[in-house]
Subunit: 477 residues, 3 copies
């Protein structure tokens, strides 16, 4: 077989091969390819934009912080130390960024067909103009090119933000965060819109490290008596207002399950006391977290913050990795997740309330057609977040549309979230989502299930308008 | 992009776009498009055919009774009152049918890509000759056209039944129903075949509203002493015979789970007493329902009625909607459903008995390949019902065939059920099923997994013959 | 419609119909079609190769031992007795092989679209040169042709093994097996590589028939005191070494769940004593089996045997069939299977150890994307077995690749297993897998997600190299 090294970024990538369907997909994509990026949920570092310092080197930008990348290398026997991932105990890890880059290059075949490869290839080509394949032979050449770019002003964070045509980017912070970078951004005069989101896990999950201390700190920050249940709730409401004042339009909740509860006040107080004493049983902790989701929904009805639930991950599954490297190191594994009974207490109370907007995500694809689409296709307050995390991928997005759309329609979904720490992957991820959605719509047009003008309108909605609307990001007039 | 408003009902709708595969699909569909409709399970109102009165207006025919339609509108904030859905308390709701129709028109984009849109478009075009798109601008024109038709004799229920080429249509009634309309139909001289089916939920589910009173009424209707376990069973057997005398060939069971039990007589009697006293615990109610499935199977072995199980729906999930509008208002949500252990007691006893025909449905698609196809591919008594409810859709049917056929084959499935209250959607639903099955078969022919003559035979079986055979609807010679 | 009886084995079977994608698939397949067969896991009978006697007749070769075939016939009412399946009680069953063959022919339509039909058609054509369709009319002609072949030396087991181009074939034996055939094979001078694999279910599962007696026999075979926990473990280690000395490179474990435990020694000893006394509760039996998986992993770290887990089958679901015909008669039904928590005790201890290679299979496809791909994409010790049993089929393999590859990549999978008792289906099964993988890769190439030279390398890896590597079957230098 002759070797074909095509340009890595075909104009037709992710489009269906059949010529007539591809033609429709191209026309739909032409409508959306240049739309601004709305990124309503993610984990980039606001310091990048507040400080606008250059990124250090290719590996610390593209490898060391990306658990999608190093989990795959680790699964094939590459030690995390050799990839420069910092150890909790401060033990030495690889410091030579070029060596790390070469290690990636030697193992690049492991990523064939993965989203990581697609995103990195896109970033290399579109941001750095590097169009050759990453191989041991090309590794140094590519490294030098990227390293050279990173020190030029047009590759500083704010310049990239503008080049990426980002209309708005949300980060995610704990209620205990002082939001110094967000405050600095507001005062900087820079016009890029970077906002925060309220992620209260450290102060609402009794099993979170340092829960009681966190709640005490919450009291200090807000001047409320967080040793009492009413004071605690007031402190949370107050902190939400503070986040909103720095642009937040949403909250985010990452529990192990989707359980919600609507308990009598006496039980809430008892659970809260047990949690503060750090002797809540696992079942009590679960009830407390579930109660707090309902409390958060109640506060959302008051203050208008959109509520996101990201459940179903068994965090830190590998105790060896957790002890050595800490959280978020690619060892979080999805588990079966139930929604119909879990969400009922919250929905019983607020599911019909138009002031609540509850966006639900899942890592259990079996719930798309069985639970989530029927729920979203009925409750006014509930909408479906996009294909998430492991499913932020072409096949994952396709399954999502195929399994959700017939029951929930398109307008009970909220557009795309990139949900990433990897800044340079943002344009790539949005581009993949736009292409996959256009490919999906093109098939339905070709099968005469939609007309093309409707598909074009939908393509714009899915790429741009729905996210703005669902997350209340339309510019206030 | 130029606007293209093609005819809404392309001749090639739902066929694969690739020309050679589409060609096969067209040829297969030509074999089945004109076959009579066999509708062995559904929820149309026998009064329509017994009385043959004209339908009142477009909205009360096409919107107000269709929970697929109004659940979607409700999910986007449209109150059910404004759609004319009657309230339990008799409070006023919208009475102006034209206003309701306009409200649908304004929100028609919500249905893009849904089966509801496909079915309604089909009915508008094929029944009323309306080929334009529903928009706020066209709404009144379409309304007038339909309203005008409805008062002409060729649009009366019996005329439509004949025009739809329905060979047989089954409705579903409670054992407490006197079957007056079915009796009137038998005596009317009209040749349309409309039969009943036996749905005993109100008298076999201890948690059904008014269970004890229902059982008492069953005693009155049959002259059996339904306060004793043997009398109760005899009353059920008697009522089954009555239903069969009015054409019923099947029973239907809609429990929350697929649990079956085969309990000792003493426990059956104790559960029955607890149920009559209305103090069965949830676990006891579950055991009683499961026992009754096994009793029904035993009766089917005797009287030959085909047995259907439709499990897995969490009914009336939204208490606000239930209190205000009652049952069947689009707030039933599927739940995870287990079959392998649940059906074992019944199958242990009757699974190898060729006199039993047990047709199993699911709202949990994960069970297709994992549980149901392996069960149907082994037990002589068990067959699989078609893709049901939320999955009565092109993607749903495709997943069903892809996940079932390799293990269960085609001949352990039972053809198509429309399972609808929406009379005008029946031809549309059968047409969608025929097209999707032909598209599926065409792909397998194109991939050389079937030969075309076999696929043509299968297409006829799936569209027509299997349903007649599985539900014992072949005309007696 | 005109009847088309094409040659049953199109050169393009299982390839995508779109011409450009089909072209890519053809080119990829050309790279792999002639590669040797590596069959690292299966259930063929080593006596065939040790004794090299001719197969008796078409039905006892192709029908009577194949539960895929007779389960389908049974599901449609064909008694197993009439297919010659032997009864436990020795009662008479059909002995006329030709009659059995005719019964298959009369029901051949039931297999439309099933893998069984594909495999049998392949074997008939490629092995016996029979290219017509099996029908009542052709049945006798085909029977005679095959019967005639079977007595010619080129159809004896060893000759077929060589003709099939099998590089290595693993069978599966109990620790209580003396491996006489494997020893005979070693001494025979024949160059075919047939090896054993260690399947200890009879001596590690307290619920296995005759567990205590089996453990006693294990003691006799090894000279260890298997009435004590340490002696029992030493006996197992000793027996593993014996298997390895006859070529085994792997162990295999077929528990009902994937549960593993890592219990204190005192509890292990207590469970072992209860198991020997045959009074372990179901929960204790489950804990013991789970502990034994961890013990087996520990031994694998020592002796290098690759460890396979095949969980999730509810064995012998039909008690009538079990009583009459015994185990493995097509009445095993998959059940929901959980891996994330179940495997944690084993992975906590050995998941990061590069000396362990743990290959996990599933009958619950929902775990591909939710649990197994994320686990395999993280843990160095864990790899995913191919689509198994009911999913060893074109649609099953396609779903596997679509749901696994984006998260686990290709290199955390282990290539293809045929896992069959049906010797003549082995080339057919490998050919199907190669075609389906090439079709899958071709789509990704056509969608510009892989370049064609990479896909060609992957095709060879998936068809050949990965299985050799994962099962340590590369020839020792």
């Amino acid at each position: 077989m002759k070797m074909t090294h095509a340009h890595p970024l075909s104009e037709d990538r992710l489009f269906p091969p059949e010529p007539s369907v591809r033609g429709i997909a191209r026309r739909l994509y032409a409508e959306v390819r240049s739309l601004p990026i709305v990124s309503p949920h993610g984990h980039t570092d606001p310091a990048w934009f507040a400080e606008n310092k250059p990124f250090a080197d290719p590996s610390s930008l593209l490898v060391i912080p990306d658990h999608y990348i190093y989990r795959m290398l680790y699964s094939q026997g590459v030690p995390l130390e050799s990839l420069g991932v910092p150890r909790v105990d401060g033990a030495p890890v690889e410091q030579d960024a070029r060596k790390i880059w070469r290690l990636l290059a030697r193992n690049w075949h492991l990523f064939r067909g993965t989203p990581s490869r697609m995103w990195l290839t896109h970033a290399l080509s579109e941001v750095f103009g590097v169009d050759e394949r990453l191989t041991p032979e090309s590794a140094d050449r590519m490294y030098d090119r990227i390293a050279d770019c990173l020190h030029r002003p047009e590759f500083f964070p704010r310049a990239l933000f503008e080049q990426f045509n980002i209309e708005v980017l949300a980060t995610t912070e704990s209620p205990l965060d002082g939001l110094l970078h967000h405050r600095a951004l507001r005062q900087s005069g820079w016009r890029g819109r970077v906002i925060t989101a309220f992620r209260p896990d450290p102060v609402v999950d009794p099993e979170y490290e340092g829960f009681a201390a966190n709640v005490a700190k919450l009291g200090e920050l807000t001047g409320e008596d967080t040793q009492t249940w009413p004071g605690y709730l007031q402190a949370l409401a107050s902190r939400r207002r503070f986040f909103a004042s720095l642009g937040a339009t949403s909250t985010d909740h990452g529990h192990a399950s989707a359980a919600t509860f609507d308990l009598p006040r006496l039980e809430c107080e008892a659970l809260f006391r047990a949690a503060l004493r750090a002797d809540a049983s696992p079942a009590q902790a679960e009830r407390f977290r579930g109660q707090m989701l309902t409390e958060m929904a109640r506060m959302s009805v008051d203050d208008g913050l959109v509520m996101q639930i990201h459940p179903g991950s068994c965090r830190n599954h590998n105790p060896t990795i957790f002890a050595r490297f800490g959280r978020d190191k690619g060892a979080d594994i999805p588990t079966p997740t139930e929604y119909v009974r879990a969400l009922k207490p919250l929905l019983d109370r607020f599911g019909n309330d138009p002031r609540l907007s509850l966006i639900v995500f899942t890592l259990d694809e079996t719930t798309y057609s069985r639970e989530l689409a029927p729920l979203a296709g009925h409750y006014p307050a509930l909408k479906l977040g996009p294909a998430w995390w492991f499913f932020d991928s072409p096949e994952g997005m396709r399954r999502y549309r195929e399994q959700v759309s017939e029951t929930a329609g398109f307008y009970n979904t909220v557009g795309f979230n990139d949900d990433t720490r990897a800044f340079l992957s943002i344009p790539a991820r949005h581009d993949v989502a736009r292409r996959v959605d256009c490919a999906f719509l093109a098939r339905w047009v070709a099968e005469h299930r939609l007309e093309e003008d409707e598909a074009a309108e939908l393509a714009v909605d899915l790429a741009y308008s729905l996210a703005r609307r669902a997350y209340k990001l339309e510019p206030t007039p």
